[in-house]
Symmetry: T
Subunit: 147 residues, 12 copies
């Protein structure tokens, strides 16, 4: 039977959410988003493990950890999205599907945010929906389980 | 009161779905996806208007039509995604929010599919979830109405 | 004797003028511009045929139509300016001179609007003068007739 | 038994042939080329369906139409050759083989004509032989039928 | 009351007009163009101050001079158009509007003439109309005064 | 009277045909292709001189030799197609027309095979038809002789 | 009252200073620079907190820590200067101003050191003055406090 | 004994300071900055020679003049920073050290201001500190004299 | 006497070896490679210290550690090979020679793996030999000691 | 039984070894390297056939010759490494594995030596070890035979 | 009768010759070069007019002056060689042939010195011969007069 | 005593001189140029050895031959100028100075002729003087012998 655990992994600076550039990210905090995710998880019978780190290597560690007993990873890799070959390889090194998400519409921001190093290794991408980017990704995993 | 009408607009070659490259797009037909969208719309009390055309100009016409009495547009612009400044401008010319979607994960395909001319004008992007890319976008509009 | 007919052809999204991004385009409508053009034409004894379409192929058709019995074409190709080799070839396929115009100063906008695919095939370019870009182009054709 | 129908599809501005830049394209008209194709078809027992349009979407429609009951498509996509991802996808969406042709040697002309968006999806490419580019392509389909 | 003075500033090599490459620039001299401008100015009640220099720094000086008591600058910056950040900044350092003009259609010439460093700082651009590029720009300032 | 001699020149690695990457080139040998060419030549009253070398300089020598008493050159320059300015110049140094051919559709292969250094100097290009690329080129020379 | 605390943060390999490439960096050690900074801080009544790490994530952590109770950050991000979007975002996520410094003149070194990912998010940049780059930056914060 | 003279050289458009784009440059005039520099010079026993020109060639002349009897040059080359190989060479042609400065943080502005042609020839770079960029550079020369 | 210690350092995702993409990396685990290295070291009288980390900063730390008492470093930096200026600098900051290795032939994989940021700072590069890439590098250090 | 013959093929200018740029290549001659290779071959029971040519076509010829009765090719293609598509294809046209080697670390030299046209077709790459690059490659073939 | 006057024009920083970077330019002064040129002129019956300026505009002025009564211009444009479209146009604006020269071999120096904006407008280029670059150019004009 | 032998080496297609594109190269033959060179050599007491080949490898062989007993090489490498790293290395592998020459002004021709792979390894470059490019280079060697 497939695990009902879903990792929600957050990369650098997302701990500053709510304090940082509300014009772009809104004023919701990461704690509130964690709660939103857990609520959504409860509704869909998914067990959410929500984490944040500023360290690229720790994101790699966590992705490896997700290789067993986890049915999906929602990954907001923040700035590492645009530069990290290590994350690309980490995603490819595991069988668990990963969904890349972003709170803002990265394509409407600076040029260097248009390129994702991890999208091609991911299952899919969701961006631009604010905190709902998280819940839509969780919904997507529920859809996959049901199909 | 906000309209409950949602346009789901499909661009070139999507009428060939099911016949075309099932390795990439699966074997579901566009008619089945239309039905999925209507089912999802019914569940969320949204009225789905589902269309397809191979003509860039017709997509522009339909986007203008969506400027009044429509609460959202789900846009799978197909190949025009990567080349059409006209669609970019059409999206910016209307107040109705537009969500760019793709059935496949375009970032895992040819280089020329990595660039979107319309993402920066759209509300957000969802790609890689097969037919569920459509239903997740409809869900996103329902979330916006509820927030 | 040279025809006194001048085509004024408008491309995609220009029908939304007045409704769309007034910060860039002002709040004048396309109908008002058509009237300005006709007034200017009357003053200069030129017969203005003013049209708009969102379809690239229709612009090509109209340019071919202008090959006979028309002394000049004022062309605001909108977004197709930046991508259309077909319009470039259409302009070169006719003997009637074509003037490329833009309402806004495209060079002060996004990078992708700085390049014109049609300028090198046109007689000249006028941009940045709001609705007067149209009347200056009509004036230019009158100047050519008088020289 | 394989159909003996061959589509010969012509894109934008080719209706101006004979009137347009004879230094590049010669002074033969499209009607004469159609006749050459039909003559060649008769000699090879192939039924030629010869068409022209300035609309990218119409070329896409016609390629889809060729998916059934047609043994080959000779495609002179004109300017859309260099920009159209939609045509690339349309060719890939059908099983009928497509041969890209050009009247002139596009590699000896402007830089922007050196790149073809459709060649990689086509069976092969023939360019530079004037009207004979058409008849060589028809010959190539006859060769395929005989092999 | 707004000044009726208009500067017409000419950059490097324009003093050679008439002697230089008549195939591109025609055989009219700069003195004749100055007279055309003064005639047009008289007709529109504008006082034309017509100058030429081969020195980039002098063009900067003159633009600063135009900051007071001048209602518009017609600027044919010649070769400096394509390289001068200093002129870009000079135009932005003054409130008087500047119109960039060119005698020839620069987009139909060498690649390095396609890029303008000053267009994005200017009010608008007019090119390709021979000496009429000057008079159309003067007309444009008259239009602005009347609107 | 025009010579009825046609050179068919083959560049590097084509001697390995049949042994090399049959998925791309098929399993036909160069000897069989030579025979096909001679048969086609016989049918069209053309005298085929078929050669192969791995040396760029030898291809240049042979092209010079073709300057006299030869009515056409079919050139499959193999890898040198993509890098050789020397072949470009050699083609331009002779009056005899040259047709560039390829067995495979080079545009559907690696990026570095998309660019041809010799196409712009050649009469035309034929690629993607397997051994028939050779016979179509010979046909093209026969067409030229007959026109 | 504004805090008198200033962070001086050093990135990867700066702990090797004095041992590493003295031709570029001189033979002073990081400890000596720390002492120079503290001396300068004492003279200007600023409390210097001097740190070094080889971990990008730790630099991000420290920048977040500087968001409260710190009046300025002197940041020598070493190699991460040229690649780290995470540091760019971290600087933008805090209100405390950051000054980017370098010991050597990075513009006179390898091409890949010419581009800074963090300069556009910083208050200003100082480079090329050896250990004085640090003290000039501390002086700059004192100037800001006094203005 | 080393000269105590320091040149402070200002390039194009800096004479417009205070009148020009106060959002970027503040409202201080160049005269006030000259006074700040002289005050800083007095405090550090340096004799400041403060100049401005819009002419690239004059900046070159002044740099040559600084080759003798001058201990340092503070150079705000304005727009010529980004384009002038002549200034690069002039700096390298003299033994007197040169510090490149900018009032604004050029890296946070348009792309074309990110590249400096003169940084690699200079001793160091200081930018982003408003008028203090000047006084920090003067301080840097005092530091060099004291070391 | 030179130390007989050799570091073998492994970067991100190499701990997943054997689980990850066996088509590219084979099914050998990192533990087996460690054993191979120790066996090779024993045969050549070298003391192998074999480590793995997913953290870029830790690789930098270890390279610094290798500066004393270590005669060589075999470095498989994995994904950081292609992005890390910090590793480039770390290699240059130590006197101990470093050999860059890769299990697979990186040049036969994705474009972004073709560029190495660390090769130019390393003694040499060995790639494509599977686990033997490690033992060949150890052999190379033995050769250096014997020469 | 697998052949024990190994080709060691050297490209242009390697005959000048010892006379040419000893700072880069050392002062060993190609004859001495041949002897080193034969010694290494003897130790590993491999029969070394060592050759040099300045002709690209001859290298292609020799690679084809290696297709039968040869168990491996050590290829120092010298300058042709960076430009030759013909060598790339020759390597792919044979089944015998090829190892690309270089005496110097090409990545630490001019930009145009960083790109290899043949690496992606080769089994692996070894560079930077002086004459030992040859013996390590021979060792690699022995390892392959033993595995 | 053709004039025997030859202009030798020198651009920015050449007045510093002998003081500046003798490793690149040698220790000869510009005065000595002027004397060499006059001696060579005397030997060939050419009247040398030797000048230097740091101002781009002055070089343009002098080129215009050379349009009448001058049989050739030897132009060492120094740094302006690489950036000046104005000089390109000035050379094209006159009938007098211009030879571009450089003392050093610019192709063996920094990348930005490899591109010349003026070479394509000049008669020919001579570089790398030290002061002899001047005398060879004077010889070239004598050759032209004699042919 | 220095040898008085000078090699004049000619690359691909130069044997076609006089037959090939007289608009670019004039109608003089290579034999006539050889005679011009021998005459010039006689006048300057230099012994000219004049050769031509279409083979890159032969040019490399001849450059090696020039390493002993030859005082200079005049090299017109033709098309190989723009692509040959092998020639670049060959020039650097010998002590004899090499002068790169071209008959035409390559900078006024196609873009791919603007880049020279050999200029940076050569003593100097002379181009654009027709057959005199050869004699000027011979003069340059005489100047070197006399200095």
């Amino acid at each position: 039977m497939m695990s009902n655990k879903v990792f929600v992994l957050n990369g650098p600076n997302l701990n500053m959410l709510g304090k940082r550039e509300p014009g772009i990210y809104g004023d919701i905090t990461l704690d509130s988003i964690a709660q939103l995710c857990r609520d959504k998880g409860n509704a869909l019978n998914l067990d959410i493990d929500f984490r944040q780190t500023n360290h690229e290597g720790t994101l790699v560690d966590w992705l490896h950890e997700a290789n067993e007993g986890v049915s999906g990873v929602v990954l907001n890799a923040g700035a590492y999205t645009h530069t990290s070959v290590a994350l690309h390889d980490a995603i490819r090194s595991i069988l668990t599907p990963v969904i890349e998400i972003h709170i803002s519409n990265v394509h409407a921001r600076e040029e260097f945010r248009h390129k994702s190093m991890i999208a091609s290794a991911s299952k899919g991408v969701i961006c631009g929906f604010g905190p709902n980017s998280y819940t839509l990704a969780i919904q997507a995993f529920a859809d996959i389980r049901n199909s």
